[in-house]
C-alpha cells in the first residue's frame, strides 16, 4: 500500500520551516537587510559592487553619513528610476555610462549639482546643464591579434575597416553602450550619411558581432578575429589579473582624432526628488576626491578625471590621447543611433 502523503507533506514542511527560519533571521537580526533604510543615503549603482563598495565605506567612515547601495544593471536601474518617478528611493544614481544619465536628465529627474563640484572636472566630461558629472573616463581602442597583424598593419582609422582586406576579420558589439556612444560621436562629427555609410559598409564586410567587449577580447586572443573595437580597460584588467604573457592580444590607440579613439565617462547624478541634496552632493564630491580617483585609476585602469592623479601603469596619459573634439552632452541622441545600427542590419 502506498501512502503518498508523506514525502509531499514532509517536503512542504521543510520549505515552510526553512522559509520561516530564514526570514525570521533576515528580518529580525539584520533589519537593515530587509528594507531600504530611510535614514541612510540611498545610491543606485550601475557600477559593480566590488568597485564601488570600498569607496562607499571610506566615504561613510570619513563623513559619518551612512550609505545603502543598490547594485544593478545601468540601463535597468535607469528604467527603474523612471518607473518609480517622484517616489524613487534613490538619492544618487551612479552610472556605467553617460547615456543613461542623459536619459534621466531628459525626464527631468536629476537636480543640478553645486558649482564647486562641477568645477572639479573638465566641461567636456559633464552635462551642459550640470545635472551629472563624469567620475572616470575610458578610451575606445582597437584590440588586435599580433599573430595576424603587426601594430603598423592595424589601421589608423575605423573608416578603413570597410575595405575588402578586413572582410570577416573585425569584431564589434553593436548592443554595447560604449560602441553606441562611438557611433553617436561619428554621427555628430561626420554627419548622418557618413555614419550610415560606415555601418552599412561594416555589415557588407561581414563584421563579426559579439554581445560584449570581453567576448571580443577573447575572440581576438583566440584568433577568431584579427581585430575588434573595445574599451581600453578590459585589456588592462585582464593583464592585471593574468599577466601580460598570458594575454596574447594587444591594443592600439588610434591617432588623429579618429572617432575610434573616443573618450567617454562613467558618471553620477543626484535625484531631484531626493530630500538629502547636501549629503548626496557630498557623496558626489567624494567620488571626485583624490582618494577615490586614485582608487578608480588603479582598480579599474580607467582614467581619473581630476588634475594630478596618476594613471595606472602602462596606460598612456589621457592628455596624450588624440581623441576627437566632442562634447559628451552632444551624445544624447541614442535612439537615432540605435535606429541606424538596426537599419544597417548590425543586430
Amino acid at each position: 500500500m502506498r501512502s503518498p502523503r508523506l514525502p509531499g507533506a514532509m517536503t512542504m514542511a521543510v520549505f515552510v520551516l526553512a522559509a520561516a527560519a530564514c526570514s525570521g533571521n533576515a528580518a529580525g537580526d539584520e533589519p537593515e537587510e530587509d528594507a531600504v533604510d530611510e535614514s541612510k543615503l540611498v545610491v543606485y549603482s550601475g557600477r559593480q559592487e566590488s568597485l564601488v563598495q570600498p569607496v562607499v565605506d571610506d566615504f561613510a567612515a570619513e563623513t559619518g553619513i551612512e550609505v545603502s547601495v543598490r547594485y544593478g544593471n545601468t540601463a535597468q536601474l535607469a528604467a527603474q528610476i523612471i518607473e518609480e518617478g517622484d517616489r524613487t528611493k534613490a538619492d544618487v544614481y551612479f552610472s556605467q555610462d553617460g547615456g543613461a544619465l542623459g536619459a534621466l536628465t531628459k525626464e527631468g529627474m536629476l537636480a543640478a549639482l553645486p558649482a564647486d563640484v562641477l568645477d572639479l572636472v573638465d566641461p567636456r566630461y559633464r552635462a551642459d546643464d550640470g545635472t551629472w558629472i563624469g567620475t572616470s573616463a575610458r578610451a575606445r581602442v582597437i584590440v588586435y591579434d599580433p599573430d595576424q597583424l603587426t601594430e603598423a598593419e592595424v589601421p589608423d582609422s575605423v573608416f578603413e575597416l570597410t575595405e575588402p582586406q578586413w572582410k570577416g576579420k573585425v569584431g564589434i558589439s553593436p548592443s554595447n553602450a560604449s560602441f553606441e556612444a562611438f557611433v553617436t560621436a561619428m554621427r555628430v562629427l561626420y554627419g548622418e550619411d557618413k555614419a550610415r555609410e560606415w555601418l552599412e559598409g561594416m555589415a557588407a564586410n561581414d563584421v563579426q558581432l559579439f554581445d560584449n567587449n570581453v567576448l571580443i577580447l577573447n575572440a581576438a586572443e583566440d584568433g577568431v578575429i584579427a581585430l575588434g573595437l573595445i574599451n581600453h580597460y578590459y585589456w588592462y584588467e585582464q593583464v592585471a589579473e593574468e599577466g601580460l604573457e598570458a594575454v596574447p592580444a594587444r591594443l592600439k590607440f588610434l591617432p588623429g582624432g579618429d572617432p575610434g579613439s573616443l573618450v567617454n565617462v562613467a558618471g553620477v547624478g543626484v535625484l531631484a526628488a531626493s530630500d538629502r541634496q547636501d549629503e548626496a552632493a557630498s557623496f558626489v564630491e567624494y567620488l571626485l576626491s583624490e582618494d577615490a580617483q586614485t582608487y578608480f585609476a588603479q582598480d579599474t585602469k580607467e582614467y581619473p578625471l581630476i588634475e594630478g592623479i596618476p594613471t595606472a601603469e602602462g596606460l598612456p596619459p589621457l592628455a596624450s590621447l588624440q581623441t576627437p573634439e566632442i562634447d559628451l552632452s552632444d551624445l544624447d541622441t541614442l535612439e537615432a543611433t540605435l535606429e541606424m545600427i538596426e537599419e544597417a542590419g548590425l543586430t
Binding site: 512542504m12 531600504v36 545603502s68 543598490r70 527603474q80 523612471i82 518607473e83 534621466l104 554581445d211 593574468e242
Partner: protein
C-alpha cells in the same frame, strides 16, 4: 489496442463532469489569476502611453516579424529536443534496472540550478566558433530538459502498471507497449513540461545574447536601453504575450479530454522494472553520463577551471553564507506562496473543464514568457503606486516570484490531481464530508507528491532568478544569483565559481528529497520476488 480505448471511454463519464467549482476553490483561483495578469495590465497601460500610432509603428517593423519567427523557431526546436531527452531520462531513471537509478535521477534534475547564461558563457569560452543557432539549441536544451523530465518521472512513478501489463499480456512487445501505452500516459505531463520549456526559451535573453543568436527578447532589452522608458518595450512585450497564449492554447488542445486516473478497486500493483541487459545497461549509463557531463559537468568544470586560473578569487565566506541564507529564505517563501496560489487553480483545471476554468488557467500563464525585466518593471509600477510600504521589501519580491513561476506550480498540481480518481472525492462527499474536508482529507493528500514536486521546481527556479530579484529585492539583500551576476558581469568568473557551485549544491537538496526513494523499495522487493 482495445484496452486503452475502453479504459478511456469509461473514465470520461466520471472525469468529464461539469458541475460548478465551489467558492472555496473559485475565489482563491481568481486571486491567483489576478496576480498573474499584473504584468499584462502594466503592458497595456504602458503600450498606449504614447498613443496607438507609435504602438502600431513598433509592431509593424520588419525586424519585429523576423525576430518573432526566429524566437518561435528556436523555441520549437529546443522544446522538441527537451521532450525527447526528458522523457528518455525519466523512463531510464524510473522504469529500468539501470544501476544507481536514484542517483542518476537526482543528477539529471540538477542542470535546472545552472543559470543558462553561465552555461552559455562556458560553451562560448571553450568553443569560440560555436554556431549561434545550434549553440543556443544545445545550451537551452541542456538547461531546460529537467522541466520535462521531472513531471514525466512523477507520472511514471504514480501510474498503475496494470494497463501496460495488459498490453504486454496481449502480445505487445516492450517497445510497442512503451510507444502505445506508456507514452500516452505521460503525454499530459510531457506537454506541461514542454510548455514550460517553450516559454522559458521565449523569455530567455542572457544565453542567446552570449551565443550571438538574435531573438525577440533582444528588441525588448534594446528599447529599454535606448529610451529607458517602457512604451516600445511594452508593445513588444504584448507580442510575446500573444505568442505565449497561442502556445498555451496549443498545449491545452494537445492535452485533450482523456482522464488519467486509475479506476477499479484495490491498490496498484508494484511495478516490475524493465530489466536491462548488459548492453542496455552500458547504453543507459553512457547516455545518462553524457547528458550529465554536458549539462552539469561541463559548466561546473569550466567554473572550477576559472577558479584555478584566475587570481581574482578572494572568497568572502561570510558573503557566501549570507547569500545562501537569503537565497534559501526568499526562494522558500516564493515556493510556498506560488504553490498556495497554484493549488486552487490546479485543482479546478483538473476537475472542472469548463470554458471559464480554462480561461482562468490560461490567464495565469500570461506573464510567463515575458523577460524578467518586464515583470520586474511591472511590479515596480504597481509597488510604487499601490504597495509602497512593501516596495523593495521581501513580500513584493516573493510576489514577483509567484507571478513569474505560477505556471510551473499549476502544471504540477493539475497533473497530479488529474491522476487521482475523482470518484474518491465523490464518495467522501456522499459520506457527508464538507468540500473543505474533502479537499484536505482526499484531494490534497493524494496529489501531495506532485504538489511538492511543483514546489521544488519553483524553489529551484526562484534560486536562480535574476532580473526581477535585482529590481525588487530589499536593498543590501544579495542572493547567490545576484552575487553570481555581479561577478560574471565584470568577467570575474573565478570569483563567481563558488556562488555557482553553492547554487547547484543547494538545488540538489530539494531534488534529492523528491527523488524516487520511496517507490524504489517496492521496486526492489518485486525484483526479488520475480
Amino acid at each position: 489496442m482495445a484496452a486503452p480505448a475502453e479504459w478511456r471511454t469509461e473514465v470520461t463519464t466520471t472525469g468529464g463532469r461539469s458541475s460548478r467549482p465551489p467558492a472555496l476553490l473559485a475565489v482563491p483561483a481568481l486571486i491567483a489569476a489576478a496576480v498573474a495578469v499584473l504584468p499584462l495590465v502594466y503592458l497595456v497601460v504602458r503600450s498606449f502611453d504614447s498613443g496607438v500610432g507609435e504602438f502600431v509603428a513598433v509592431l509593424w517593423r520588419e525586424r519585429t516579424l523576423r525576430l518573432t519567427v526566429r524566437s518561435v523557431g528556436l523555441a520549437a526546436v529546443v522544446t522538441f529536443a527537451c521532450l525527447v531527452l526528458g522523457v528518455f531520462l525519466a523512463w531510464l531513471t524510473t522504469r529500468t534496472t539501470l544501476p544507481g537509478r536514484r542517483a542518476w535521477a537526482v543528477v539529471a534534475a540538477l542542470p535546472l540550478a545552472i543559470p543558462s547564461y553561465v552555461a552559455a558563457y562556458a560553451w562560448v569560452a571553450a568553443f569560440p566558433r560555436i554556431p549561434p543557432f545550434w549553440g543556443s539549441v544545445l545550451v537551452l536544451t541542456l538547461c531546460c530538459y529537467p522541466y520535462v523530465m521531472l513531471p514525466v518521472a512523477g507520472t511514471l512513478h504514480r501510474t498503475d502498471p496494470a494497463l501496460e501489463e495488459v498490453a504486454r499480456s496481449l502480445g505487445r512487445n516492450q517497445l510497442a507497449t512503451f510507444l502505445t501505452v506508456t507514452l500516452r500516459q505521460v503525454r499530459p505531463a510531457a506537454a506541461v513540461g514542454g510548455l514550460l520549456v517553450a516559454l522559458y526559451v521565449l523569455s530567455d535573453f542572457g544565453a542567446v545574447a552570449i551565443l550571438r543568436f538574435d531573438v525577440f527578447t533582444r528588441v525588448i532589452y534594446t528599447s529599454y536601453r535606448s529610451s529607458f522608458d517602457g512604451t516600445a518595450a511594452a508593445a513588444l512585450g504584448l507580442v510575446l504575450v500573444v505568442i505565449t497564449m497561442t502556445v498555451v492554447w496549443a498545449e491545452s488542445r494537445s492535452r485533450g479530454r482523456a482522464a488519467q486516473s486509475r479506476i477499479g478497486s484495490g491498490a496498484p500493483r508494484a511495478r516490475r522494472p524493465v530489466v536491462l541487459g548488459p548492453g542496455g545497461v552500458a547504453l543507459g549509463l553512457l547516455g545518462a553520463a553524457i547528458v550529465a557531463a554536458l549539462a552539469l559537468g561541463f559548466p561546473l568544470g569550466s567554473l572550477g577551471y576559472w577558479l584555478a586560473q584566475g587570481r581574482s578569487a578572494d572568497l568572502d565566506p561570510g558573503a557566501l553564507a549570507g547569500a545562501a541564507v537569503s537565497t534559501i529564505s526568499v526562494s522558500a517563501l516564493g515556493a510556498v506562496l506560488t504553490t498556495a496560489l497554484a493549488i486552487p487553480v490546479g485543482i479546478m483545471a483538473a476537475r472542472y473543464r469548463s470554458r471559464r476554468v480554462r480561461a482562468l488557467e490560461q490567464a495565469s500563464y500570461a506573464g510567463h514568457a515575458l523577460p524578467g525585466i518586464v515583470v520586474g518593471l511591472s511590479l515596480v509600477f504597481f509597488g510604487v503606486r499601490f504597495a509602497y510600504p512593501i516596495y523593495q521589501r521581501t513580500p513584493l519580491l516573493v510576489l514577483a516570484y509567484a507571478v513569474l513561476f505560477l505556471p510551473a506550480a499549476i502544471g504540477a498540481v493539475r497533473a497530479s490531481v488529474a491522476q487521482s480518481p475523482p470518484v474518491l472525492e465523490e464518495v467522501a462527499r456522499s459520506l457527508g464530508r464538507s468540500p473543505a474536508r474533502v479537499l484536505r482529507d482526499v484531494t490534497l493528500p493524494l496529489a501531495g507528491p506532485g504538489v511538492a514536486a511543483g514546489a521544488a521546481l519553483v524553489f529551484l527556479t526562484c534560486m536562480k532568478e535574476l532580473p526581477a530579484t535585482l529590481m525588487l529585492r530589499p536593498t543590501g539583500l544579495e542572493t547567490l544569483a545576484t552575487e553570481l551576476w555581479a561577478e560574471t558581469e565584470v568577467g570575474a568568473y573565478a570569483a563567481a565559481a563558488p556562488y555557482a557551485s553553492l547554487l547547484v549544491l543547494l538545488a540538489a537538496v530539494p531534488t534529492f528529497l523528491l527523488g524516487p526513494r520511496r517507490r524504489s523499495g517496492t521496486l526492489d522487493s518485486s525484483e526479488g520476488g520475480s
